[in-house]
């Protein structure tokens, strides 16, 4: 999940240069489209409760659950997480291993403290 993928089509391209009919001549281009700023609530992962059941990973519609070694949940890709809350909803642990918090509050806290992810 590098989120470094280039857009295959330039936003400044004129009509003569564009591929015809709205075709995008590449695969996996959603990665280049940052949807993280749509978020109004943010998932916060609590590693201490997590049992790595992968429910959140399977249900996330944006493939925004970050894994280590393909088996261990280590957080979210905030460039793409839209804050839908599905991951928190499906998390089976008690207490939940994912909480949804206000995005604005979280950003304010990030700005105040040094604890940026």
């Amino acid at each position: 999940m590098s989120a470094k993928k280039e857009r295959p089509i330039s936003k400044t391209a004129g009509w003569r240069e564009l591929p015809s009919g709205g075709m995008i001549p590449a695969g996996g281009t959603a990665e280049a489209f940052k949807t993280g700023d749509w978020r109004t609530i943010r998932p916060v992962h609590h590693r201490e409760h997590c049992i790595d059941c992968m429910q959140c990973w399977a249900y996330c519609p944006d493939m925004a659950i970050l894994l280590e070694d393909g088996v261990r949940v280590i957080g979210m890709d905030f460039d793409h997480c839209k804050g839908c809350g599905i991951c928190a909803n499906v998390c089976p642990t008690k207490p939940k291993s994912i909480d949804m918090v206000s995005e604005i509050e979280a950003q304010r806290k990030d700005a105040e403290g040094e604890g940026e992810e």
Partner: protein, 400 residues
């Protein structure tokens, strides 16, 4: 390429629907998805027997509606298969949404449209309201005068639609019942000659090509939609040249010549009538009768309605005094039919500015005959005499 002239040994008595089905057999598309509707039904019915008899290697998809027919055709064309369907009237109307998706996605689908009046009131007979309603959908529209032209237009439509400068879907229009069910002598071409003429379907990129993944039909918002529509408009502009050069190539093959339109006794005409489709035959006969009486009338039969050949029309009609535009569809704009308003707009720039009036006729299959055309021409002669129009829109053959 072998030149096959109009050899009587190659002629067969066929209805328009049979001729089109025959053309589809010779084109042998990879996929045909269709739904029956009068008067088009026979085309896909006959074609489906070719499939079941093993005469063509086509995947035939009997769908549950025309919306599905066009959707399946769009899907198969995008996947890299030469794809066709056929329809009429309300079937075309039900395809509406997908017509724009086919052209906007730049898929070279070819579709015979057997022209029939749109309901309501319910009617199954010929007029052009179906095709005219789709005139702004980004499809090439070729009109045919008879079964021969419908047959010939089919092959040319495949080449035009698939041409790299065009890549737009194309409709081959033929008048319901008058052409579709009328039997006439049709000169057919050898299967091999057709194979060679149309060649293989080559698409830029196919959805099934896993080596080169791509997305077709993505969301296209304020930042790109306009550019894509601009390119689509340009493809329509470019198609005019392509249509002409393919017609030349087809003439070498068939001995039959096609252009953007056909002129009949127009050179020295003072009065011109402009028509689409089968009415041209009746008009030609009537013109001969009236010429014998010294009335200088000629005809312009438009073959290509989309793209609209405005420059060429302006030149071809500049020398006449009066133009009667025959529309087999009303636009309900209160100022006449679609052919009339477009042709009037074209002539606005003409230095000679002929007088132009509209005759709406033949709605719902109402017969058009030499007597009515003669009546129209005599009225046009009166307009010429008076030097001014009485009215823009006339309804020809309606009970007052």
């Amino acid at each position: 390429m072998s030149v096959v002239k109009q050899d009587p040994r190659n002629s067969t008595a066929l209805t328009g629907n049979e001729a089109v089905a025959q053309a589809m057999r010779q084109i042998e598309p990879d996929v045909v998805a269709a739904y029956p509707i009068t008067p088009q039904t026979e085309i896909v019915q006959i074609f489906s027997t070719y499939v079941s008899d093993g005469l063509v290697n086509t995947e035939y998809v009997p769908v549950e509606s025309e919306h599905s027919a066009m959707s399946a055709t769009v899907g198969s064309a995008a996947s890299g298969a030469r794809s066709m369907t056929a329809t009429s009237a309300n079937g075309l109307a039900l395809m509406w949404e997908i017509l724009y998706i086919a052209s906007g996605t730049r898929l070279p689908i070819v579709m015979p449209v057997v022209n029939r009046a749109l309901s309501g009131p319910i009617n199954i007979h010929c007029d052009h309201s179906d095709a005219m309603g789709a005139r702004d959908s980004g499809w090439i529209q070729l009109f045919s005068e008879n079964a021969q032209e419908a047959y010939d237009n089919m092959f040319q439509a495949v080449r035009i639609a698939e041409h790299p400068d065009v890549r737009l879907p194309a409709m081959v229009c033929l008048d319901g019942f008058i052409i579709s069910h009328g039997m006439e002598n049709v000169f057919t071409l050898e299967d091999n000659a057709i194979r060679e003429f149309i060649g293989d379907y080559m698409i830029e990129r196919s959805l099934l090509d896993v080596e080169q993944p791509m997305t077709l039909g993505p969301l296209d918002l304020q930042d790109f939609y306009f550019e894509h529509k601009r390119a689509e408009a340009e493809a329509m502009v470019r198609s005019k040249k392509v249509i002409q050069s393919i017609a030349e190539e087809y003439e070498k093959l068939s001995g039959r010549s096609y252009g953007l339109f056909e002129e009949y006794k127009l050179d020295d005409a003072e009065i011109a009538i402009v028509v689409l489709g089968s009415t041209a035959g009746t008009a030609r006969y009537t013109i001969d009768q009236l010429r014998a009486q010294g009335i200088k009338v000629g005809m312009l039969k438009l073959r290509v309605f989309r793209p609209f050949p405005f420059e060429e029309l302006k030149q071809a009609l500049a020398h006449v005094n009066v133009i009667g535009v025959m529309d087999r569809a009303d636009s309900f704009s209160s100022i006449g039919g679609p052919l009339f308003s477009e042709l009037r707009a074209v002539m606005y720039d003409s230095e000679t500015r002929p007088l132009i009036t509209n005759y709406i006729y033949g709605l719902g299959g109402r017969d058009i005959n030499p007597r009515l055309i003669e009546q129209m021409v005599r009225e046009l002669a009166d307009v010429q005499e008076a030097g001014r129009l009485n009215q823009y829109v006339n309804y020809l053959g309606v009970r007052e």
